[in-house]
Structure formats: C-alpha cells, structure tokens
Symmetry: C2
Subunit: 377 residues, 2 copies
C-alpha cells in the first residue's frame, strides 16, 4: 500500500503529500471516468421538467434549475482527522469530537456555498467500526453537541442521518464521518459558477483556523519525527495535536452576510486539498496575482518546517492561513473584508484577477502555479 | 466487540441478528440523542423563510417546505454487502460492483420516495481503505457503470461525489459506500408523511429481489456453517453468494408511475432493517392485517432454514420477499398492483389497515408484532 511507503531515503528529509499516503495518480483516472458517466445522466432531469446548470459540473457543488430557484447538493467526507482526535483522546483524556463534528459539516457547507447557495439541510453520516463505538458516551455526546452547534452557526436544519456499524469495513474503534448538504440559490442571481468572473476582480482571502481537514495524512506522518509526538509544544501552552484539531472555520455566515449587504461574489473557491492551487479552479484563462499573503497559521508553519517543504510545496498542499477565497468586483473589495471581520473572520484584499494565461502568481513569495498544476475536471 | 460474540452455545443452533454482530442497544441511545438535537435545529429554517415538515422527523427522509414545493433529502449507507462481493470476486474472478452500485443507490432512493418525493440528484460517497482500491480498474469501472445505470432506471442526475482514500479508518482493500439523494415533492399534495393513512386503506407489497442490503451480517455469519461457503448451491445453478448479491430493487419507477396514473399513496414503508416490523413505522394507532404473504425469495428461505429461525424471527429481521409497502385507498389497490407489474415488479394486495391497537398481524403465519417491537422515534 502506498500509505506505507518509506518517507524518503533520508528519514528527516523532505516529506511530500504523496509520500504521506495519498496517491492521486490512482484515484484521479477513476474520478475522470466517474465524472464523465455522471455528466451523461444530466438529461434525466428533463423527465421532471428541470435542467442542470452545466457550469456546475466540475465545481464544488452540483446545481439544478428547478424553476423558481436553483437547487444545490453535495456530499463530503471529513477524511482522516479523527485519527488525530483519537490519539489526542488517549493522551489527554479529552474528547475532541465536538470540533470534529464542526470539521465534517464545514467540509460540506464550505463547498456548497461556493456556488452561491444558502445551505438549508445537513445530513449526518457516521459509519463506525462496530456498535461499540457508540457506547463511549462522552465521545458520542461530544459529536452530537458539536454537530448541533455547527448547524446553529450556519443556520441550517439537521435533517437526520445514518449511524451504521460497519465491522469489517471501517476499522475497529474508528469512525468514517461525512456530511451531505442541500441548499437553494435564491434568488437565482446569486448563482456563482463563475460566468461573471473577469479581469479586474478582487481576490479576498478569509483566514483559516489551522490545517482544517486537508493535509492530515502529512501532519500525522510527521508525528513519527517528533520525540514528544502530538504533545510537542508548537507555541506556549499549545500542543501540535491541539493545534491540528482546531475546527475548520465555517464560512457560510460570511457569504450570507455578504448577500444581505448587497455584495454578490463573482466566484468562490474553497481552499482544501491542493492548497492554493484551488485558486486556479475557475475554468477561464485568467491570471491571479496575489500581492498580499495572509500570515501563516502557526501549526501550518510548524508542519512546513518539520516537513522541510519549500513555499511552493507548502502552498500547493496546505491552506497556509487562507481557507476560502471570494472573488468580488473591485469596488466591493474593502466592504467584503469588513463584512467578514464583523462575522469574526479575518480577511485580506489579497490580489487581483487579470487577463492573461491561466496562472497563479504569489508575488511576495515568488511562486507561480500554472494550469498543469491543477487538474480537477 | 459484539460482532465477534459467539453465535450461541450450540454452533448449529439458532442465529439471531444480534448474535450476527449488530447491537442496536449500543447504537439506539445515541440515535435518540442525535434525533432530539436534530429536531432542535428546525427553527433555523425560519431565517431563510422556510419551515420543516415536522411530520417527516422520524420518517425515512427529511422534508422542508420551500414554498412552491417540498424539498426532501437523505444520506444512506450500503452496509456490509461489499464484503460478500469481495469474497465472491475472489471465488469467481467476477466483479459484482455493478450490482453493489445499484444497491447503494437503492438505499437512498427507496427511502426518499416514501415521503412522496421524486428523486432528482444522487451524490456518490465512495470511501476506500487506500488509493489502491481505485487501481483495480475492472472493479472501479463496474462501480461506475452500475451507478450510472441505476441513475438511468430512476431518472436521476448523478451530481458528483466523493472518492476519498481513508487508510487507517476504512480497512485496507475495502470500501465504505453511501449515497445521498435530493428530491422534490411536487406538487405538494404528493407529500405522504402519513397524515392521510386511515382504517380501510389497502396494503400493497412489492417484491424484493433477495436480501437487498439488510441482514448481511447474519448472512455472512452463516457462511461459517456451510462447507462450500458462498458457492453452496441454493437452487440449480445459483450459488448462495450470487443470490445474496442480487441487486436491491429500485422502487422509484413504481411510485412515479403511480403518480402519473393518478394514484397517490397514503403512506409508504421501505422494508429494510427490522424486516416487516417496518410496516409499523407510521406513528398512528392502527392495526395492519396481512391476509396474503408474498412467496419468500429462495435466498431468504435458505437463510431462515440455515439460521434455524422461526417465522417470527425471520419476518422481524429480513424482508422475506417484500421490499417495499405502499398504502393506498382501497379503490386504488388493484390498479397499484397492475402499475407495479407494468414496471416489471411483482406486487400483491396483501392486507388492510384497520382501526385498533398498533400491531401487525401476519395471519397466514400466525405472527403478531406490537408497538414495542419497533422503536424508531
């Protein structure tokens, strides 16, 4: 298995994301086949009098035109962050599953809002390695409480969900967490699948709280290099494990507040796997010039240092302090920053969209990513 | 772990569902806590100008009133049926993942339609034990092809999905499959959350193709008792493994055809876990009297015999030949049976709803289930 591959010849050398266990070369061909098959099913909506918004194919959420408004839906996996929570529970006696619940919901919500949707309903998918998982009452209650609280932050209804016990599929003592989310784009002009994005638009970056839920394979692999493991202090009084478990920021309060203030994002990108390369998500030929780089969250700086990654590698994998990008008309830039801050989320007017070849220029760091660096469609 | 509990003192004695590995006593308290927390989030919809359909709490899908129509959504897990497919692939060299895909979609679709919804969008959740899972091209292509075909049968659009590699959470070489589904109840009078169900209504049962995707823990446990295991012939030319892997029937073509023919179900029950006890799902005090029992699918008869279950135990766990129940006005009963048959699905006018205490009477078998036999809310 690839996830057991040796980190490198030098045990303290550079550690890349692929070496840490995720081999996109194996997953991506299946993804492409699945995406093609999925696209071929769009015509079925006609039988019900509806049509898909074709531009949403390849975006973070799927959108259907149902007449009076658009319907957006998604299912998203948390990933392996629970493995860190499980280790930290052993080391500290504390359950971190309240934060883990927020992470899981954030995976779905933060993707759904990129297309301009207001999230309405979240469904829980909690697949445990056996019935026993649910018998740990403290942990189970933390998961429920955190899930409910994240729904409150995002003003969504928790519709229900699944709590299967999957011995033989999910490992004993572990849980596979995911969330599905359904929302509406209402009124329809809120749709932001990118047709409006154009040269001159401003790039606003919203702060992350830490690693969020992408790059955890790398973060976990690094623990092997740390004599004190997850209990390594990365700042006074803050351990590596605690810092990794900072819950993912929920960005829907910002997108909702923007709409209420009359600011319509021209496009959004959720910065998850592939790090800042996600800023290249939009299909058009456009150049993204970053002039202001947000401060790097301490845990991400620590990971970069320990993994001996240069900036290019780090920004191509991790969010590096920016968890979400909103593209707005230049005259809306400062207001967008202000509105985010009112919601308690730091934001920066970080750059500009320009005419030109498809590339991302992070000028303060001298990094350039081209079209070949991100293949999502 | 409970799933490793000894089957019983007598290795060839009766095997119950609980002995086969699923301990609802551990899961159900968490479910109740989660359901209460979820119900408390309903008010958030008001911020968006919407309201939940409170009667859908406790039903198989969650319903929100969004004005011109109702929105229904759900996420559903396949369960452990892939473990049978994986064994059979080793024994026969064939991939059964096309059928497995249909099973997964059926879990979501067959629940969503119980509330009167037309399924519109399905999202795929394919969480593998490592990137390598996706490297088996034959299996991956079968999964994609089966998923696409099931979408065709149900006239739904495949919106997208997740294909994470979760080494450390999902077991190596395994995959955790789930589907989320979003649909509309349109026009709104199609809503069937049970307020219309009343004494005199007819109970229509639709055939199952076999075990579907519930009771697999028991079915797998039985293999230990069979000298030829999954290759045991249960009928001429049909092995136990193949019979278990018959894909779950997709029932949405029936509910859609009913609506087009002017038949509005008063209530529906998807017969999954808890077997025929699911006929007691409706919250009202009503008696369900079954006068006609559909023929038992051969693989279910085989399981019942091998597990030495009496009829009461078997009907309380397995679908026993009936995968879906539709409750209609008595004058619609025969037409409902006909419409299902036109869709290629055998159906029986099996019984009647009566005033009386909450119980299910399966008269030909002398079985009675009471309210205490099903606690889902």
């Amino acid at each position: 298995m690839n996830q057991n591959a040796a980190p490198s010849h030098d045990p303290n050398g550079t550690l890349s994301y692929e070496q840490a266990g995720v081999n996109y070369d194996l997953i991506d061909p299946l993804k492409v086949t699945a995406q093609r098959a999925a696209a071929a099913t769009a015509g079925h909506l006609a039988a019900h009098g509806f049509t898909e918004v074709a531009a949403s194919r390849g975006e973070s959420a799927y959108v259907v035109d149902v007449g009076p408004f658009y319907l957006a839906s998604i299912v998203e996996c948390l990933g392996t962050k629970t493995l860190v929570a499980d280790e930290m529970a052993k080391l500290t006696g504390r359950s971190f599953y309240d934060g883990i619940a927020q992470d899981t919901i954030a995976m779905a919500i933060n993707d759904l809002i990129t297309v301009g949707a207001t999230p309405l309903v979240v469904q829980a998918y909690w697949a445990a390695g056996g019935s026993d998982w649910f018998g740990d009452n403290q942990r189970a209650q933390a998961l429920v409480a955190g899930w409910k609280k994240a729904c409150e932050v995002c003003s969504v209804a928790w519709g229900g969900g699944e709590t299967p016990a999957l011995a033989g599929i999910v490992e004993e003592g572990r849980i596979d967490l995911a969330a599905s989310c359904t929302g509406l784009i209402n009124p329809k002009e809120r749709l932001s699948v990118g047709d409006q994005l154009s040269a001159g638009d401003a790039i606003i970056l919203l702060e992350s709280s830490g690693i969020h839920a992408n790059g955890l394979s790398l973060a976990r692999k690094l623990v092997e290099r740390l004599p004190q493991g997850y209990l390594t202090e990365i700042a006074p009084g803050v351990t590596y494990g605690e810092a990794l478990l900072a819950p993912t920021v929920l960005y829907s309060p910002v997108t909702e507040a923007l709409w209420k203030a009359g600011v319509a994002p021209r496009y959004c990108a959720n910065i998850t796997g592939h790090g800042w390369r996600k800023l290249l998500r939009h299909p058009s030929e456009l150049t993204y010039r970053i002039h202001t780089v947000p401060p790097v969250t301490p845990v991400l700086k620590f990971i970069q240092e320990q993994a001996k990654q240069d900036d290019r590698e780090a920004y191509s994998t991790l969010n590096m302090g920016a968890g979400f990008a909103i593209f707005v008309k230049p005259e809306d830039a400062e207001r967008t920053v202000e509105i985010a801050r009112v919601q308690g989320i730091a934001a920066w007017h970080a750059g500009t969209v320009e005419a030109g070849p498809k590339r991302l220029l992070i000028e303060p760091l001298g990094i350039e990513f081209g079209n070949d660096d991100l293949q999502l469609r």
